[in-house]
């Protein structure tokens, strides 16, 4: 096991993880750089249940390149089956050409995407917490997937249902509401499939 980072959740539980896992979070990365290697990094706004879920995601993504924010490409250098040709290996566009020709990379990327989609097939409450954690800890891939999970979960719901789900208040004035409904009067039954 390489260098490890110690994290303390909001409810006082300690998690020790490898650097590669923890450094998926840009916040943790920048805090670790400043601090002494032996100190623990406190994360008061993330409780242990959510942190362990977040770390599960980070562990899966630790040695993969960012597959979501770029074009699902693996640079040739990381491909175990290729000798890593030098020509433009780092640009995402030529990497996607690499992924097309390299079956192993393509399969690995697809598997990871599938895993991620399953990971966010959870109840909205958990997605809400993951969104907040990903935002607070600045974890790009987790944010991307949590947004995807949230979008999948709310698709097909109407505003009233969304308000109930997220405990939101309808803070429009009656006039504003009338205006909105007038604009979209063609949505008589907006959610009729």
């Amino acid at each position: 096991m390489g260098k490890t980072i110690k994290l303390i959740s909001g409810d006082g539980e300690m998690f020790e993880v490898e650097e590669a896992v923890a450094f998926q979070s840009n916040i943790i990365k920048s805090l670790a750089d400043e601090d002494n290697a032996d100190d623990c990094i406190p994360l008061p706004r993330v409780d242990s249940q959510i942190l362990s879920k977040v770390l599960e995601f980070c562990r899966k993504h630790a040695n993969s390149p960012s597959v979501h924010t770029k074009f699902a490409a693996i640079p040739s250098e990381l491909c175990p089956k290729h000798d890593g040709s030098a020509a433009g290996a780092s640009s995402s566009e030529s990497s996607s050409a690499h992924s097309e020709t390299c079956r192993a990379c393509y399969d690995a990327v697809m598997k990871l995407v599938q895993w991620d989609l399953e990971f966010v097939k959870v109840d909205l409450d958990l997605i809400h917490h993951l969104l907040k954690a990903a935002n607070y800890l600045d974890i790009e891939d987790l944010m991307f997937m949590a947004v995807e999970g949230a979008a999948n979960a709310i698709r097909g719901n109407n505003p009233e249902e969304i308000r109930k789900l997220f405990d939101l208040e309808n803070d429009f004035t009656p006039e504003e509401e009338k205006e909105i409904l007038k604009e979209y009067s063609w949505l008589d039954d907006p959610f009729e499939p």
Binding site: A151, I154, P159, L181, W186
Partner: protein
């Protein structure tokens, strides 16, 4: 959700995909409405999202209202197909409204009168343009310049060879070109399509007919010509950057891909008629080839046999994946001549279109030439079979191969019969 930054709500709404969902949910509360108005970056209007009896005029109003409420839209997609015809004025309005921020535009629909989309849309920010509608595209080079455009996709359009060439010169960063059912109009003064781009990396052409194509593309990595395309003459002038060549079901009398094939890793040719010696001479220079697929290729000259295993082994020492589908009824000995082995081949795919007993022998011979084989796939076509004799032969071949493969327990064997 109340503690989430409004930008994230904007992200979530953008990910929903359809304008209908986005607009509906923006009525949830003030924050969500703000997210829609200020932080929505992706909006998509698809034909299937709206009630069937909605008219084109109603759709125009709807789309205009929705787009004009947003600020900073980056990706816009309007896919109506042939179901509705929009008037030119609203379409131009949508394009002009989003001009400053739009990075990706995908427009599939008819407009009456025709709107020349390239002229109207964002030129300095646009990175991806996907047009699909029966229209004629004209390019005025004097003021048109797409400084950021990386990906261009034209489907069901009519464009002159000259205009397509000019389009390339005004896209200094273009990397990917897709042409799908594109009619390229040539004239006496411009009978060939000449595309020149130092940045172009991939070309994907399907159902395209043009007499002559000359490509000056020093960085081209991937060339795919597919599906009923009719290209008389194709010449690629490159600097050896080509990595992936795929030709499927096209008619091309003359094909030149350049002298330097040092980077060519994949050659995938199927349902193609070739002049064998010339074709072989061309591809044999690809000494670093990893994947070779010659599937149902027909030979112009009756006497031409096929590329035999000895030639393959000698020309392509790094080959990992080999897929061959020949009519092996004659020339079995020639197909298996020599003794060089394909040391690096891990995956072997062999196919027949007309079954014969020689096929079985060919499979045995090929397996012996691949000492490091890990996977064998046998492909066959069952749908053309007319006689019991043929069906019996398929059974014989299948059981023979299975019996043989018991000796090679480390090889994974599959049969794919259509």
């Amino acid at each position: 959700m109340e503690h989430l930054p409004v930008e994230i709500i904007g992200d979530i709404l953008s990910r929903l995909g359809t304008a209908r969902d986005v607009v509906g949910l923006s009525a949830t509360c003030r924050k969500w409405r703000e997210a829609y108005k200020k932080y929505l970056h992706t909006l998509s209007f698809k034909f299937g999202d709206w009630p069937r009896d909605i008219t084109a005029r109603q759709l125009e109003i709807l789309i205009t209202q929705t787009i004009s409420q947003t600020v900073g839209l980056q990706c816009l997609s309007i896919h109506m197909g042939s179901a509705h015809e929009f008037a030119a004025v609203p379409v131009i309005a949508w394009l002009m409204y989003t001009r400053k921020t739009l990075q990706s535009l995908s427009y599939n629909g008819h407009t009456i009168p025709n709107v020349n989309v390239p002229e109207q849309c964002s030129r300095h920010k646009l990175q991806a343009l996907d047009l699909d509608h029966h229209s004629i595209i004209r390019v005025e080079p004097t003021y048109l310049r797409f400084t950021c455009l990386k990906s261009l996709s034209l489907r069901h359009v009519i464009i002159s060879a000259l205009d397509l060439s000019i389009l390339f010169t005004v896209c200094p960063r273009i990397e990917s070109l897709t042409l799908d059912v594109v009619e390229i109009v040539t004239s006496d003064s411009q009978s060939s399509m000449e595309l020149s781009s130092p940045t172009l990396k991939c070309i994907f052409a399907e159902k395209v007919s043009v007499e002559k194509i000359i490509l000056e593309a020093d960085n081209l990595e991937s060339l795919h010509l597919l599906n009923d395309s009719n290209i008389g003459f194709l010449k690629l002038n490159g600097k050896g950057s080509l990595q992936h060549l795929k030709i499927d079901d096209i008619v091309a009398t003359h094909l030149e891909i350049g002298a330097n094939l040092d980077n060519l890793k994949v050659i995938d040719v199927s349902y193609f008629m070739i002049k064998l010696p010339k074709f072989y001479q061309m591809i044999s220079r690809a000494s670093k080839l990893r994947t070779l697929r010659l599937w149902a290729v027909a030979f112009v000259c009756k006497d031409d046999l096929f590329i035999d295993v000895e030639s393959i082994a000698v020309s392509f020492p790094e080959l990992k994946h080999l897929a061959l589908n020949y009519d092996i009824r004659d020339g079995l000995l020639y197909a298996l001549r020599g003794s060089s082995t394909l040391e690096n081949v891990n995956v072997l795919e062999l196919g027949w279109t007309i079954i014969s007993d020689n096929f079985r022998l060919w499979v045995f011979g090929m397996i012996r030439r691949c000492p490091n084989l890990k996977k064998l796939v046998i492909h066959g076509v069952l749908s053309g079979m007319k006689t019991d004799e043929q069906s019996q032969m398929v059974t014989n071949v299948t059981s023979s191969v299975l019996r043989l493969m018991r000796k090679y327990i480390h090889v994974d064997v599959r049969f794919v019969y259509d």
